[in-house]
Symmetry: C2
Subunit: 581 residues, 2 copies
C-alpha cells in the first residue's frame, strides 16, 4: 500500500483530555476517529489490525470444531422476556431499546444467549446433534454509563461471542476446557502476554468462569496471582490462603497486656481520621460494618486496611446477597452513628470476622457510642466471634489459597475475553432440550464465551508501546514492513525505494510504502508512531555505499543491509517473528 | 467439513406461506432461519456463501484503490439533521431510532453518507488527499413496511457501501466509472448474469445512477432493454424512442371518418369496465388523469393500456413533483367524478399527452360528465394538446430511445447493487471542502455505491436453481465438492469415502463430506438441495469396479472416475469452473 493513496491521518498530539496510552496512540496513528461518545470510526489501519485478530480467532475456533454463524443485531424483546433478562437489563439502562413501525419492542444485542438458544431449540433435537458450538464475530451495543479509554470501553463494539450446547454437565465442562485452551492459543498467537483468571460471574449467572486478562500497568482490573503455583483470580474473586500474612498487625510489644481503654474521637467517622488522630496505622484498626442480607443483618469485622468482599461475605454467611445497611438502619441496630460501630456490646447481630484478624493482637475499634472508640481490643479475649471466614479482597502479600508456599501478587490487566459455564440458565426457562438415546428429554447444558476484538486491539497497544508510538506484535501488525524513502526528489532514492517496495511485495510481505512528499523527519516519526515491526529506510548516505537501513521497531535496533540481499533478509526476519510464539 | 459435525438443518418442505424460490431454498437447505419479521439468523452454510461474496467484493474494490473502513451502526441524529434527512426518513418510518441513557437521539444507519462525510470533512483537507474512496461491509437496518421474500427484502442486512470524494465533477465521474467497472467484474466473478441499468435515483438525491440487476424471472423490478444496442434502464426511468410502436392503436377502418358520439357508461369508472362494456381493447381508450404539481394542476392523457410515469410527467411539465389529485379535487376541477375525465371541454387545465397517442386514430374518452364517455375522439381533430411528451412507463415493443432500429424488451431483475453520483448533496450542507493548489476552498464531489450482500446471495439462488434445489456457481458455492458415502455400514465404502475426503482436502479443495448415518436417498436429496457444484458419490456397486460417481450439479451430468485418479480429476474440474467467467 502506498501511503499517498492510503488514508492514515496521523496527529502530532492527541486531544488534551485523552489519557490512556492506547486511546492516544489509536488517535495519533490514525487508526480510529470518534463519532460520538463511545462510538468510533475504524480507519483502514485500525481495521487491518482488527481483521488480523479476527482471522486468528476464527482459525483457532474452527480448529476446535466451533461453527460460525451470523445472528441479527436487532433482537425481539419477547425472547429477553422469556429468559427474564429484559427487566434486569433495561432497569440497569444497559440495553438500547427501540420500537419498530408497528410498535413492537426490540433491543440491540449486547450478547446473544436468547437468540442462539431460540435457534438451537428449534433445530437441534437429538443427542446426535451435540456437542455443538456456534460463534459469530459481530457488532454489539451496550449503553455504558461511562464509555472511556477509547476502544477499551465503547458503546458499540465488535465481539466474538460463542455458545456451547451439550447433553451433560461433563460434556459441557469438556467444551468449556476446549474453548479455554483455544483462548490461550488465540492470545498467544496475537503476541499478547495474557493470563486466564478465575472470575466472578456478575449478572450473567453461572458458576464457573474465567476472564482472560492482558497484563498492562494501565489495566482497569486488579488480578491476584500466586508467585509460585500460577493460581490467578480477579481480586474480587481470589480466595486467600489460611497462613498468616507477611505483615503482622501487632501494635503493642506485649500483646497480652493492656486492658480496654475508651477514647474520645469526636466527629471522626473514617479510618483515615481515626488513624491520624490516634497515630496508629490503618492495619491496627478493626472496621466493623453492618450489612443487610436476605436472611438477617450482620456485623462484619475486617482490618482497617482491608476491603470487605460482598460476594465472599454472602457466601460465608449462607445468604444470597449482602449489602451495606444505610445510616438510619445502622443507628437503629447499634444505637450509634456510622463510623463508631465495634464488636463489643453488639446484641442481636451475628458477628463475622475476617481470618486476617485471628491474631493475638490489640486493635482499635468503634465503641457503639457516638464519637467514641476503644483501644486495646483483643478479639480472642474480649469478643465472641460467631464465624471466622475469608470475607475480604485479596491484597499484595496474602497467602496463596492453592499452594503451601506461594504469595499473592496484585497486578493489573485488561479483560479481553471471558468464558462462562451457564448450565441451564437459558435452556431452562427457554425449554431448549434434546432427546437422548432412550427418547428421554434432556435439557441442554450451555456455556458462553466472548472476546472483545476492539479491546484486544487496544490492549495490544497498552502492552506494546513506547514514547514514540506503537510497537505491534508481528502477527497483528497492520503491515509487516514499512519502506521509507527519505527523499522524493533524489531519483536514486525514489527508484531504489520503488524497487524495494515491489521486491518486498513480490516476497509475499505486507508492505506500507511511505512515498509521500514529506520531510525525512516526518516520515521517521510517523513510522515509529504507526509501529510497523520493520522499517526499511532508503536514504542518500547509506545508498551511496549500496545499503539500506533496517530498523526493528520492537527494540529500536538498526542494521545495514546490502541492497541486493535486503528483500530476502527482511522476509526471513518477518517469518522468524511470525513463528515466534 | 464433516456433515455430522456441521449444522446444516435441511427441511423436506418449506413453510406453506413461503413462495419465492430463494426463500424456500434458503430455509430448506439450512442456510437461514427466521428470527422475527425481516430478521434472519445466517447459519454456517449461508455464512460461507456470504463470506465468499464479500471476498470478491473486497478484492475488486481494493483493486480500484478503495479503502476499507468500519463505521458505527448507531449514528447520532445531529448529523442527519445537518444533511436534512432526519425528518424525511423518520417521516417515512424507514429509520429505526433510539435514545441513549442521557436522552440523546440516534438511528440505526440504513446508509452512511452523513457519518463518512463527517469523517472526511475533519480529516481530508488537501487536494493531495483525493481521489478517495472509502467503503465498508457492515450491518444496516431499514424498517421496511413489508419485509418479504427471505433475504431479498429484510430489515437488517449486510451491505457493502462505498463513498467517493473528488475535487471536480470530472474526477467524480471518473471515480463513478471505476466503481461501475468494478461492479461489472464483481457480479461476473460471482457467476451471475447481471445488467447495469439506468435508474431513477429516488430519495437519495442525485443526477446519475445505475442499478445492477441480476436477471431472474422472479425479480421484483422490470427492466427495459434494447435488443439491438444494449441500452437498458429501469422501466420507471427508460426513455421511449419516437418511432411508432409496433402495435398500432387503430380501431376504425377509416380513421378520418366518424364524428364524436356520446355513450352512456353508467357506473363504469375503470378501464376494464369501460372496455368490456364497449367491446373495445384497452389500447383504444384514452386515460385522462388529473395531477397536482408544485406549479398547477394538469390533465395527462395516456393510452388505456399504458401507465403514467410521474417522474417523466413532472419533468415534461417543468414541475418538481406530480401526484394524482384526490376524488374531491377531481370533481372540483372537471365537474365530474373520477373515471369520467376526458380531454374535450376541459378548461383551465394544461393538457399533456403521451406521444404514443400522436396517431390519426379514433379513441374512447371520458366526457367530463358522470356516467358518460365519447367515442371517435381524434386528438388531431378535436382537441388542443398543450404539450406532447414521453410521460409513461416503457412497454414491451416500444422503440429504443438510443438507436434507430432497436426495440425495448421488458425483462425482470433483482437489484443487487447501485451506483449514484451525489455531487454536493452532502458536502454542501455539511461543508466538506478541501483546499486546491491555490489555497482556494473547493466543495468535495461525492458518489455513493451499494451492494446488498445477502440480496446477492438470494439472487444467485433465484438465477441458479431447479426443482431439486440450489445449483451454486463455483465461485460462491459454500463448498466446491461434496463427498457422499452411500453406506455407513459397508467398511469398504466408508474407508474409500474417508480416503477421498482426505485426498480432496489435500488437493486444496473445499469439501463437505456427508458421513451421516442416513439412507442413500436422503444423502442424495440433501446434496441436490444444498447444491454443491460437484458430488463425488461412493457406493457399493461402482466401488466394486474400482470407480466412484462424479455428478455435476449444474447440468446433472454423471460420469465414472477411476478411484486413484479421482482427486486430481475433480480438482481439475473445479479449477476449470473457477477460471470460467
Amino acid at each position: 500500500m502506498r501511503y499517498s493513496r492510503s488514508f492514515i491521518p496521523t496527529l502530532k498530539h492527541a486531544p488534551a483530555d485523552v489519557e490512556t496510552p492506547s486511546h492516544q496512540l489509536l488517535l495519533r496513528a490514525g487508526l480510529i476517529r470518534p463519532l460520538a461518545r463511545g462510538l468510533y470510526d475504524l480507519l483502514p489501519l485500525g481495521l487491518r489490525v482488527q481483521r488480523k485478530i479476527e482471522r486468528i480467532v476464527r482459525d483457532e475456533l474452527d480448529r476446535v470444531g466451533a461453527l460460525e454463524v451470523l445472528l441479527p443485531v436487532v433482537q425481539p424483546a419477547e425472547l429477553w422476556r422469556e429468559s427474564q433478562r429484559w427487566d434486569i437489563y433495561t432497569g440497569e439502562g444497559l440495553l438500547a431499546t427501540l420500537c419498530d413501525r408497528s410498535g413492537r419492542e426490540f433491543c440491540l444485542g449486547p450478547t446473544h444467549e436468547e437468540v442462539v438458544t431460540d435457534l438451537v431449540r428449534r433445530d437441534v433435537r437429538s443427542y446426535r446433534d451435540v456437542p455443538l458450538v456456534l460463534y459469530q464475530i459481530q457488532t454489539k451495543f451496550r449503553d455504558e454509563i461511562r464509555p472511556r479509554f477509547g476502544l477499551l470501553r465503547t458503546r458499540e463494539f465488535t465481539m466474538m461471542d460463542a455458545y456451547s450446547f451439550d447433553r451433560s454437565f461433563e460434556d459441557a465442562q469438556a467444551a468449556y476446557q476446549r474453548m479455554y485452551d483455544a483462548y490461550v492459543r488465540i492470545f498467544r498467537r496475537c503476541g499478547l502476554a495474557c493470563r486466564p483468571v478465575e472470575a466472578s460471574s456478575g449478572a450473567m449467572g453461572g458458576k464457573l468462569s474465567h476472564e482472560f486478562q492482558v497484563l498492562a500497568a494501565t489495566g482497569e482490573n486488579a488480578i491476584a496471582s500466586c508467585d509460585d503455583c500460577g493460581y490467578a483470580a480477579n481480586v474480587e474473586r481470589a480466595a486467600i490462603g489460611e497462613r498468616s500474612p507477611r505483615q503482622s498487625p501487632h501494635t503493642t510489644d506485649d500483646p497480652s497486656a493492656a486492658p480496654i481503654e475508651m477514647v474520645a474521637t469526636p466527629g471522626m467517622h473514617s479510618i483515615a481520621e481515626v488513624t491520624a488522630f490516634l497515630q496508629v496505622p490503618a492495619r491496627s484498626l478493626i472496621k466493623t460494618l453492618i450489612y443487610e442480607t436476605d436472611d438477617r443483618p450482620l456485623a462484619v469485622l475486617v482490618r482497617g486496611d482491608h476491603a470487605v468482599n460482598e460476594e465472599k461475605l454472602a457466601l460465608a454467611s449462607g445468604a444470597a446477597w449482602a449489602r451495606l445497611a444505610d445510616a438510619e438502619r445502622v443507628q437503629h441496630l447499634i444505637g450509634a452513628p456510622v463510623g463508631f460501630a465495634g464488636p463489643i456490646g453488639l446484641r442481636d447481630l451475628m458477628l463475622v470476622a475476617d481470618r486476617a484478624l485471628r491474631e493475638p493482637a490489640a486493635f482499635v475499634t468503634g465503641a457503639n457510642i457516638a464519637d467514641t472508640h476503644y483501644r486495646n481490643v483483643r478479639l480472642d479475649r474480649d469478643v465472641h466471634i460467631d464465624h471466622w471466614a475469608d470475607v475480604r479482597n485479596a491484597e499484595n502479600g496474602d497467602a496463596c489459597p492453592h499452594c503451601a508456599t506461594g504469595t499473592l501478587l496484585i497486578t493489573r490487566g485488561i479483560e479481553v475475553g471471558h468464558v462462562f459455564f451457564l448450565g441451564e440458565r437459558y435452556s431452562g426457562p427457554m425449554h431448549a432440550t434434546i432427546l437422548d438415546e432412550t427418547g428421554q428429554e434432556v435439557r441442554l447444558q450451555m456455556g458462553c464465551y466472548g472476546i472483545g476484538i476492539g479491546r484486544t486491539l487496544a490492549a495490544a497497544i497498552e502492552q506494546h508501546h513506547d514514547a514514540a508510538g506503537i510497537r505491534w506484535p508481528m502477527a497483528i501488525a497492520p503491515f509487516q514492513v514499512e519502506v521509507l524513502s527519505l527523499s522524493q526528489v533524489d531519483p536514486a532514492v525514489v527508484e531504489t525505494a520503488e524497487h524495494l517496495y515491489d521486491a518486498l511485495l513480490g516476497a509475499g510481505l505486507e508492505v506500507l510504502y511511505d512515498d509521500r512528499d514529506e520531510r525525512a523527519g516526518v516520515k521517521r516519526n510517523d513510522a515509529d508512531l504507526i509501529g510497523i515491526p520493520y522499517q526499511v529506510v532508503v536514504g542518500g548516505r547509506s545508498l551511496q555505499s549500496g545499503q539500506v537501513e533496517l530498523k526493528r521497531r520492537r527494540d529500536g535496533s538498526v542494521e545495514r543491509l546490502e541492497l541486493a540481499a535486503a528483500p530476502a533478509q527482511v522476509a526471513a526476519r518477518v517469518q522468524a517473528d511470525l513463528a515466534e510464539p
